[in-house]
Amino acid sequence: MKLDARIPSGPLDAKWDHCKNEMKLVSPTNKRKFDIIVVGTGLAGASAAASLAELGYNVKAFCFQDSPRRAHSIAAQGGINAAKNYQNDGDSVYRLFYETVKGGDFRSREANVYRLASVSGNIIDQCVAQGVPFAREYGGTLANRTFGGVQVSRTFYARGQTGQQLLLGAYGSMNRQIQLGRVKMFPRREMLDLVMVDGVARGIVVRNLVTGEYETHAAHAVLLCTGGYGNAYYLATYAKGSNVTAAWRCYKRGAAFANLCYTQIHPTCIPVTGDHQSKLTLMSESLRNDGRVWVPKNPGDLRSPNEVPDTDRDYYLERRYPSYGNMVPRDVASRAAKERCDSGYGVGSSAKAVYLDFSDAIKRDGVASIKAKYGNLFDMYAKITDEDPYASPMRIYPAIHYTMGGLWVDYNLESTIPGLFVLGEANFSDHGANRLGASALMQGLADGYFVAPYTVGHHLASRKLAKVGTDHPAFKETMYNAKDRVEKILKVNGKRTSDSFHRELGITLWDYVGMARNEAGLKKAMEKIRTLRDEFWQNVKVLGTGDSFNQNLEHAGRVADFLEFGELLARDALTRNESCGGHFREEYQTPDNDTLRDDTNFQHVAAWEYTGEGKEPIRNVEPLTFDEVKPIQRSYV
């Protein structure tokens, strides 16, 4: 497999303009002759569907939820970055670019990140014009706050509900196109496979989750905007429905899957309380702006937190990282919490938590000010834990939150399958080995509003695409394959629920492919996953029929794919013999437990190629070059 990133020539700050000038255009009157499929309606999907329809293409959009507005982008809390420099604090496109590349531990493409930073300001303008109610100052201008890994204030926000407001903005734009008849919306549909004709992505197979019917849809391009794979770990901050199925099916059709081992563990989540737990809840990283993280100085200190005097507290982030303090990047903060807990300083009944304390901020700014900034987060914490965070510190622990890895795409966001574009969290491209806070919303919307509308057009204008309808034999064949797999799950009729398989997979991944990984553990994980997968196909119990509304069947299908995917995740982690960002291999660390990269051997993207059932996948490599920034040992001290 040849990986051509198609990075445009010219100086870094002119590449995107150069690329746009070179790209072929579809004339206004011809656009209506092209059909485009968009799978997923989060920030990336909804924004892409709306913008492509505005241009005049016929768009069909699909989501598994009951409404496109439910996609999990809606749960993003903290904010969205943009290099507006409204605060006059020295921000610039270059600085956002540099901090994103550094935050990603020098494992992303310079050209992609620069483009992301350069369109970031347009995103804010677009969202404001849509009526997104961003936080504002009394004078009426937009407000900003700061986020981890950054030394300027460039994050725009809508209280703790930024993702919700941005998604509703994109949903509104898409609704307008639905009303105009340019987008046809298909909710409660699950994509089960990609249809290829002559080596090009030409359609999809979906299952209607209400009736159980299989449907085929043909198009000239397919955009996958289906989010990340964090639910492989079972306990995660993802929505319960988030899954890897669509991306995994595309992998099996020839799309390379890249850098799976870059998984983000978010430091400020509400700790696990018991075996019944179905998901973990994140609280925005913005809390670290005013909250101070600490554990008792003495291991096993059982006093209630308010009784521990300042002299007996270890504000370990401030101690270790004096210049960034509590605002170090997520991977650094998460590992530090794990290290403290593993060393016996953890708090709470599980001893797997650290304190996030607002008492100083409340003393300084008053309860009202803290309430205005973080009220909804505090309420959420109180609801889940039955404790009052205004009165005593919150307990937090890291949890799986985002995946930087995803389907490999070139500069045009096109996968290794021509005509298959991948946007948002589903692709691997912009965050390297670690994503900075408030950059996911930025990337999803950049891809959908400002990149795909150009690059998809180029694909349509420059390739000769034969007329293909759903009567083409490839559609029938792909549909029967998808159907067979679903029927096979129903026929197992074993004894274990799909949920119990999912939980067991999650524990294996968390234990061996979690915050700290090593060779022996990763090998063990692969072995365990293989065994579990075999058992799944012998012993899973799924009730009901395939031709009805059957949530149990939906879940089992997703778990079956996670069981295949999990092994590749461990394999990717095993073959990357270095530590970087969200991938921490115990064998490769600095004396102060930080990530130790190996730029000589691993300054590359690993893109996995499917070779067939039961066969070893091939690890392809795309070297990363840094012309503008010099990779350094990341330091937040």
Binding site: A50, E54, Q65, D66, S67, P68, R69, R70, I74, A75, D125, Q126, C127, V128, A129, Q130, G131, P133, F134, R136, E137, Y138, G140, T141, L142, A158, Q161, Q165, L168, Y171, G172, S173, N175, R176, Q179, M185, P187, T237, A239, K240, T273, G274, H276, Q277, S278, K279, T281, L282, M380, I384, D386, F450, P453, K495, T497, D499, K541, L543, F549, N552
Partner: protein, 255 residues
């Protein structure tokens, strides 16, 4: 650690939209008070699967109170007994050992039942499609700070914009009215300068679609506000009425 709960559940079961539904009674044991309501239903479902009975279908996704997917009538209250709380954020510590809990889907003509506790809220999407947006194409936006919006105006617009679209307001209303939902969206744009160009048309189109979907009228009982998990105020209904009159009487936009 509080003691575990043993509960009796009366759950609405209905195989598909056209089938006749009925309540079925189930017992659940050893429920931790720290469980969310949906985790309690997960336990029930795992137990049902092990026994060879089809699990109870219910909608849910984010389980952190923001996506608006979940929602059921719990002892006759939309999203259950705790105020300002979605079903997924309701915890079992709000119930007592030995309680009987009656669980039903949203009941409204505009929300037909698909299966068990799952309803079709497509009518909400269609109302939004009728005008819940500003008509601005990508590429046309002026600088974000070009129009200052005072905080005193931005904050109420934000408060209206936080509606989850869960449908609790409709389910709680004896008339199954969608006025709070529509009022919230119309208000968000009526309060912002960006919403002004289409202000009259938006109010008329969204109300027309609401009527077409067979939602009932508002008779000011305020059950909607009481049931709303994010505290959308009935002021939004008053504003919707004003906006509608303003659009009908003072504008030249045709309904």
């Amino acid at each position: 650690m509080t003691a575990k709960l043993n509960l009796t559940l009366k759950v609405w079961r209905q195989v598909h939209a056209k089938a006749k539904g009925e309540f079925k009674t189930y017992k659940v044991h050893d429920i931790s008070p720290d469980m969310s309501f949906l985790e309690m239903l997960d336990e029930l479902n795992n137990e049902l699967i092990r026994k060879g009975e089809e699990p109870v279908a219910f909608d849910h996704d984010c389980r952190e109170g923001i996506c608006g997917t979940c929602g059921m009538m719990i002892n006759g209250q939309a999203h259950g007994p705790e105020r300002l709380t979605t079903t997924c954020q309701l915890h079992m510590r709000k119930f007592k050992n030995g309680d009987t809990i009656v669980i039903e889907p949203w009941r409204a003509r505009a929300f037909p039942v698909l299966r068990d506790l799952v309803v079709d809220r497509g009518s909400f999407d269609r109302i939004q499609q009728a005008g819940g947006y500003t008509s601005i194409n990508v590429g046309n936006a002026p600088d974000g700070n070009s129009v200052p919006i005072p905080k005193t105006q931005a904050d109420p617009a934000f408060a209206s914009a936080t509606c989850l679209g869960c449908g609790a307001c409709v389910a709680a209303c004896k008339n199954a009215s969608a006025m709070l939902f529509v009022g919230a969206k119309v208000s968000q744009f009526a309060l912002l300068p960006q919403g002004q160009p289409e202000r009259a048309q938006r109010a008329l189109s969204m109300v027309a679609q609401m009527d077409e979907e067979a939602f009932g009228n508002c008779t000011n009982t305020y059950e909607c506000e009481a049931a709303c998990p994010v505290g959308i105020s009935v002021d939004n209904i008053a504003r919707l009425n004003r906006e509608y009159i303003r659009a009908s009487v003072c504008s030249n936009v045709m309904p």
